[in-house]
């Protein structure tokens, strides 16, 4: 098991045992700033190597997936979960968007197995963050006036994670690998260590979701495990169609499978306030995040291997 995953388990265990261990929220913020900038810069370095136009097709396809995923889970949440419209829309938005933490874990996973993947993937992280939020708002509120939607879009685009990811992308793009070499001792070399600490903290937060989970019971649990597997298969298929490498397909599958717990909750709180945030966080953070980290990523890797062995690269 990857050591970063062990840190996650340490956090969960400490949380469940009600240990006094706490990470100051400022440490959490520092870690997420460093991780987001590092991920963005890595992607930007790669974009500088890549003719941008060649990626345009892939980008459009990925954005389309971001619009479609929440539309698929919404009816499930409404009908089988019997959730109020706002809650169903909000959860659908969480699952249609992505978790940067999960992305970092799959990158670490592939890295420690020396599996290559398209290094411009952070671009897809940025692209996937947003569409599901817009879909979620429309699902909850109907086709709200342009004013309202524009305000929400503005908020999402200027949220912390997008600004840091996009800022990192641009800096990586402009400065290139050589320019950023001097920044490696802060952003790139300790990446795994920073991720380990981040996962320790996420483990503590995950443990605190268990109470809610127990209250809302079986449906959330099932939804939180089945949706990522289902979405991963869509991501895998899309990756294959787009001609990604096995590694790239695993990353795209993991992005599809992951559920946001940073950008989307913040956006939903403002744009769909009547949705209960405890519900969506319990599912995305209390079920799906640990599922992906512990079981999902190896599973998607195995599935990708099967798929590519069976059909061959597209």
């Amino acid at each position: 098991m990857d050591p970063v995953v062990l840190f996650f388990l340490l956090g969960v265990t400490a949380g469940i045992l009600r240990s006094e261990l706490r990470l100051p929220v400022q440490v959490y913020e520092l870690l997420s700033i460093l991780l987001l900038l590092a991920i963005g810069m890595k992607g930007g370095i790669e974009l500088a190597r890549q003719p941008f136009l060649e990626l345009l097709g892939q980008m459009v396809a990925v954005v389309a997936m971001g619009f479609i995923l929440p539309l698929l889970s919404f009816p499930v949440l409404l009908r089988f979960g019997r959730l109020p419209r706002a809650d169903a829309a909000s959860i659908a938005a969480h699952y249609g968007s992505v978790s940067v933490g999960t992305f970092a874990v799959v990158v670490a996973y592939l890295g420690s197995r020396d599996i290559d993947f398209e290094a411009y993937m952070p671009l897809f992280v940025v692209l996937l963050e947003i569409p599901a939020i817009l879909v979620g708002i429309v699902l909850a509120k109907g086709l709200v006036g342009g004013e309202r939607l524009r305000e929400s879009a503005h908020e999402v685009l200027l949220g912390k994670s997008i600004v840091l990811l996009v800022g990192g992308l641009l800096i990586g793009w402009i400065a290139g690998a050589d320019g950023l070499a001097k920044l490696a001792p802060l952003f790139f070399d300790p990446f795994q260590g920073l991720l380990a600490l981040f996962l320790l903290e996420m483990g503590l937060v995950t443990a605190s979701q268990i109470g809610t989970l127990r209250r809302y019971g079986f449906f959330l649990l099932a939804f939180g495990v089945l949706t990522p597997v289902f979405s991963a298969m869509i991501g895998l298929g899309l990756g294959w169609l787009l001609g990604l490498s096995v590694g790239g397909a695993v990353v795209l599958a993991t992005l599809a499978a992951s559920a946001s717990y940073i950008a989307v909750p913040a956006a939903m709180r403002i744009s769909v306030p009547e949705a209960n945030p405890a519900l969506s966080l319990a599912a995305s953070l209390g079920v799906t995040f640990p599922f992906n980290v512990l079981v999902g990523i190896p599973l998607y890797h195995w599935l990708a291997g099967q798929l590519y062995a069976l059909i061959g690269a597209a």
Binding site: Y28, E201, L204, V205, G211, R269, I270, E274
Partner: protein
């Protein structure tokens, strides 16, 4: 020493709505505010403040009675149903009444 009665309105709520809330409060007539980071527990459960989604703010506004009422009414209308929030007011004396 000359004292001037005013009301101190204290709001404890989710930090995610900070910028919206402050814009509202100013629109409803507050001349200033003071914010401290907080955590706590209430009807909507524990808010540990160890993570962006569960941080609280404690916002204080010193103002006259009419403004306090306007703010309280506005909060009740726009925020009370959907957000973790409490609100209380108390009587205070200030030195420079023209500020509040």
């Amino acid at each position: 020493m000359e004292q001037h009665p005013r009301r101190l309105l204290t709001i404890v709520t989710e930090s995610s709505i900070e910028s919206h809330l402050l814009r509202h409060i100013e629109r409803w007539g507050a001349h200033g505010y003071t914010i401290t980071e907080a955590r706590g527990k209430g009807a909507r459960g524990v808010r540990e403040g160890n993570w962006e989604a569960n941080r609280n703010l404690r916002i204080e506004v010193v103002c006259d009675d009419a403004t306090a009422d306007r703010i309280a009414a506005g909060l009740r209308e726009h925020y009370y149903d959907n957000y973790a929030m409490i609100l209380y007011t108390c009587d205070v004396d200030v030195l420079r009444p023209e500020k509040f």
